[in-house]
Amino acid sequence: MNIIRILRCVAVFAFILSSKISDAQLCTSASVDMQKAQYLWFDTKNAAGIAHDSMTNYSNVKVGYDVEKGDFKRPQQGEADKNLSVKSEGFINLSKVMVWGKFTFRHENVEDASYNASITDPFRGMPYYVIDNYSDSKWRNQFYELQARMSVPVGNKIAVGLSGDYKASLAAKQRDPSVDTRFYTLRVIPSVTFDFNDHHRIGGHFNYTSVKEDSRMDNVYYYLYQFYWTHYGLGMSTQDYGYAGPTTNYIGDLLGGGLQYQFETKAWKVLMEAEYEKYVESAEQTYETPCKMFLVNDHTAKVKLSAIHSSDKFILVTKASYLYRHIDGIQYINQRDNTEAQQGWIDLHHDIRSTYDTRSVSFDYSIMRRRGQEYNWGIDASVNYVGYDDEYILPKSTKDSKNLFVEVASKKNFVVGEKKSRRLLVALKGGIRNAMEGGYNYGGTHKDYPAVAMEMSDEAFLTSDAWHIGGGVNYSQQLRESKKTTVFFNVAFDHHKSKAETFSKRNFTSCTLGFNF
C-alpha cells in the first residue's frame, strides 16, 4: 500500500466522521485536549461506556514526522529512529449509536540497532527470539492499525458496546542475518454498562485478542554464513551458524476481562476499574515440521481509580493505578523421531525456566483552567514507579531494577487572535528518573555470547538515573472564519540526559501538521 492510497483512505475516513460536527464547536488543539481529558470510560476497554462520557463529535487528520536520536536507549532500539505517520481519528454520536474510530499508518526507519535479529518488538514480553552481534542493523518497518468502538444504548439503563482493533506490521532487518517478520493482532472486546440510577453505574468487558508473528530469517548474501544466537531469557542463549536463521511462528491468545464502577455527581466523576488478562503465546520453529520451542504464560492484573472534578473555572483530573504482570517463560525438551514412523519433533517435556515480574504504580494529577470550550492553562504532574524482577531459574541468573519517574508539565494557551480562533499553545515539561536499585547477575554458561552483553547493556539503561526537559509549540487556527475546521502545526522537543557514564543522551523531535474538524 503506497502513501497516496493511505492518505486517500484517511481523507475519506475523516470526511465521513466530520459530516455531523456542529459549526459552533471550537476545534483548537486545546479544546480537543480538554475534551479528551474528561473521558473516563474512553480510557478503559469498555466501549459501551463511551455513551456515558458525554463525548462531542470530533475528527482529525494528522501527518507527523518524528525523530529519536542518541545512545541513551535500550540496546535493541536504534541509535536513530525516524517515523513518518498518518493518523485519523473521530467520534460521531448518531443518537442511537455512538461510533469512534481511528486509523494509523506509520513508516519507521531504524538505524544502528543492536542484537534483535528476528522480531518486531523485542519488549513485548516474549523473551524467545534470535539475536546477532551487530550494532549497526537497519530496520525498515511499517505499521497499520485500525481501531473502532461502538456503543448502543438499550433502553434507559443498559448500553452495550463492541470494540475491535486490527494491527498489522511488517518489519524487515536490512543486514544479514536478515529477517522479514509480520505481526498481526486482532482484538474483539464486547462490553456492557448498567445504570443503577443517575449516580451509580457498573460496567464490564470481555477481551479476546489473537496475536500472530511470522518471523522468517534469510540471508541476502546466502553464501556468507552468519552466526546467530537463540535467546531464551536473561542472557541464556544457544549459538547457531548458517545461511539462514530459523523461521519462527509465534501464536498467542489473550483472554481477559474488566469490571468498572462509576460514581457521578454534577461536579464529580469517579471511575474504578479492575482488570485481569491472561495471555499465552507459543513459539514454534518452521512450518513443515513444527518444533515447539517456547511458551509464555503471561498474567496481568490492574486496578485503576480515576476522578474528575469539574467546576466553572477548573477541571481537575486525578488517576492512580497499580499493575502487576507475571510471565512464566516455558521451554520445551523435544526429540526428533528418528524411527521409521518419522513423526517429526516430539514434545517430551516442558517446564518453567524463567520468570518475569513487573510492578508498576502510577499517580497522575492534572489541572486545567477553563476558558470557554478550551483551557487557558494547565499543569500536569505524575509520579510513576516501575519495578522489574526477572529470574532464570537454572542456572540461576537474575535481573531487576526499580525506577521512580517524576514529571511536571505546564501548558499555556495564548490567544493570538479571536479572528479564526488563532491560538498558540506552548508547553514545557521536565522530569527526573531515579533508578533506585537494580542489578544483573548472569550465572549461566557461554558468558561470551552476545545475549549476555545485551542484557548487561539493557540493565545499564534500566538502572541509569536521568533527567529530561522538553517543550512544544502548537499553532492552530480555523481555515475559514465561517467554518470550524482548524489547521494546526505542532513542533515538540524533548531532551533526555543520562547521569550514567555509559550513556549520553537521547533527543526526541517531532512535528505534526493536522486538521481538526
Binding site: V152, V154, I158, V160, L162, V188, P190, V192, F206, Y208, Y223, Y225, M236, T238, Q239, D240, Y241, G242, I251, D253, L255, K278, V280, S282, L295, V296, N297, D328, I330, Q331, I333, N334, Q335, R336, N338, T339, E340, Q342, L348, H349, H350, D351, I352, R353, I393, L394, P395, G444, T445, H446
Partner: protein, 422 residues
C-alpha cells in the same frame, strides 16, 4: 436485547476457537528443578566385565552444560543435572584377559533428561587400539580472492602411531553417512543392531600387500587434488601446497588433471564401483565423518557385488545404497560437525568416535589436527626411534586441536621413502 444475545454468541464463537491445549500446557508447567541421573553400563566385549575407571560425560553442548564422573562401581550417579537434551558418553581403555587393549566406548546421543527419565543404560563396545590414525583433516576449504569458495585443497593425513611398521596397502578410506551432521538421523534395518557404520563413498589404498609401508612416525597425506593450491591458477589464498601429497583422489577431471601423487583406488559409490560423474571427490566443507578400515585377511568385503553389504536409509525414499562397514573393521574414525551447536547431531556410534571436532565455519582455511601426547613434564612423548606419539583416546573432542592452519606432515612427521614427488 437481541443485539446483546448476538454479542454473546460472537464471544462464544471466538472462545471456541482458542486453543485450550496451549492454555493447559502453560498452566500445567512447573518450575524446573535439578535432576540426579543414574547411569549404568552393559559391556559388550568378551572377557571384560568391569566398568571400573571408565569415565562418563554428560554434555549438553548447545546450552553449555557438562558433567563428568568416573565409574567406581556398577553405576554412577550425576547430581544437579539441568533438564535438557544431552550426549552421555562412557569411555576408557581396558585390556581383556588375553592382554589386548581396547577402547571401550558407548554413548547415548540426543538423550532427553527430565523428570521421568533419570536412569540411563549405556551399551559399551570395544574397538582395538589402532596403529593407524587420522592425524590431520582439512575439510572446510578456503576463500579465493575472487568468488566465494575453493574446496579442492581438502586433505586427510594418516599416521602410524604404533611402534611397528604398518602397511597402507588395502586399507580402505570412506566418508560415512549421513554426509552432513543432522539431528534427523537415518533409520537402518533393525537387524543391523549397531554392528555397522555406513559408507557413502569408499576408496582403497593401492598396493599388493607391502608396497606402501609406514614406519613408526611416518604419515601419508591423501589430497583431494594433489597440486600446489597456492598457485595463481588455483587459489593464492589457499593455506596448503599438496603437490607432495602421497596420494590423491583422482576423478579423471581434465580441468584438474592427474598429479604425481599415487592415485587412490575407487571402490564404492551408491552400489557401484564406478566413480560417477562428479568432477571431484568433495566431502562436505561443513565436516563429515571419516573412517579408515581394514578387512581381516580371512574375510571378504565386496559391497558392490555382495548386496547384503548394501543398506538403504529407511527414513527416506531416496534409492541411495550405502556400504555396510562392520564396526569391527574400523581402525580409526573421526566425526567433524558444522560447529559446537551440532554436538547433539552426532551421527556415528561412540565406539568409533566418542566425540566430535570442528573448525566452526566454512571456507575459513582451518583444519583439525591430532594433539601430541605430553609427558607430565610437558615434553612430547616419543618412541625409541623418535616417533611422536599422538593422543588417541578415541574421542575427537579431546584428541584434536581445532582451527589450526593446515600443514601436511605437521611436527615434521616422516615422509615415506616411496613418495616420489620430492
Amino acid at each position: 436485547m437481541n443485539k446483546f444475545k448476538q454479542y454473546i454468541l460472537i464471544a462464544i464463537t471466538l472462545l471456541s476457537n482458542i486453543s485450550c491445549d496451549k492454555f493447559n500446557e502453560a498452566d500445567e508447567a512447573e518450575k524446573t528443578a535439578p535432576l540426579e541421573v543414574s547411569i549404568t553400563v552393559d559391556i559388550d566385549v568378551p572377557n571384560m566385565a568391569s566398568s571400573e575407571g571408565l569415565v562418563v560425560k554428560v554434555v549438553n553442548n548447545a546450552e553449555g552444560y557438562s558433567y563428568k564422573k568416573e565409574f567406581t562401581g556398577e553405576h554412577v550417579s550425576v547430581k544437579d543435572v539441568i533438564p535438557g537434551i544431552y550426549t552421555i558418553s562412557v569411555s576408557g581403555t581396558a585390556k581383556d584377559t588375553s592382554g589386548t587393549e581396547y577402547y571401550i566406548n558407548g554413548n547415548s546421543v540426543n538423550q532427553a533428561l527430565y523428570d521421568d527419565i533419570v536412569n540411563v543404560k549405556i551399551n559399551l563396545q570395544g574397538l582395538k587400539v589402532s596403529p593407524l590414525v587420522f592425524k590431520e583433516i582439512y575439510y572446510c576449504g578456503s576463500r579465493p580472492p575472487v568468488g566465494f569458495s575453493y574446496f579442492r585443497d581438502q586433505f586427510y593425513e594418516i599416521y602410524n602411531n604404533s611402534n611397528e611398521v604398518q602397511y597402507l596397502d588395502g586399507v580402505y578410506m570412506a566418508h560415512l553417512y549421513p554426509t552432513n551432521a543432522t539431528r534427523e538421523l537415518p533409520v537402518w534395518p533393525e537387524a543391523d543392531a549397531n554392528k555397522y557404520c555406513y559408507g557413502e563413498r569408499v576408496w582403497k589404498f593401492p598396493g599388493t600387500g607391502k608396497d606402501y609401508p609406514l614406519q613408526p612416525g611416518e604419515s601419508a597425506v591423501v589430497a583431494q587434488f594433489a597440486a600446489n593450491h597456492k598457485l595463481e591458477i588455483y587459489n593464492p589464498n589457499s593455506p596448503v601446497d599438496c603437490s607432495h601429497a602421497e596420494f590423491e583422489f583422482n576423478m579423471n577431471n581434465a580441468n584438474f588433471p592427474d598429479q604425481p601423487a599415487i592415485d587412490m583406488v575407487h571402490v564404492y559409490n551408491n552400489g557401484k564401483a564406478e566413480m560417477g560423474s562428479a568432477p571431484q571427490y568433495l566431502t562436505p566443507v561443513f565436516g563429515s565423518a571419516y573412517a579408515i578400515f581394514r578387512v581381516p585377511a580371512d574375510e571378504k568385503w565386496d559391497p558392490v557385488n555382495d548386496m547384503s553389504l548394501q543398506a538403504d536409509d529407511l527414513s527416506t525414499s531416496d534409492e541411495e545404497h550405502k556400504a555396510r562397514i562392520p564396526i569391527k573393521y574400523i581402525l580409526d574414525a573421526v566425526e567433524a560437525v558444522n560447529d559446537d551447536s551440532y554436538t547433539d547431531a552426532k551421527r556415528i556410534p561412540a565406539v568409533l568416535d566418542a566425540g566430535v571436532t570442528t573448525v566452526g565455519s566454512i571456507y575459513c582455511s582451518l583444519a583439525v589436527a591430532r594433539k601430541v601426547s605430553l609427558t607430565d613434564d610437558g615434553e612430547i612423548m616419543r618412541r625409541s626411534n623418535g616417533a611422536i606419539i599422538f593422543q588417541d583416546t578415541n574421542n575427537s573432542t579431546e584428541d584434536f586441536e581445532r582451527g589450526v592452519v593446515p600443514e601436511p606432515h605437521r611436527y615434521g612427521t616422516g615422509v615415506p621413502f616411496w613418495n616420489a614427488t620430492y
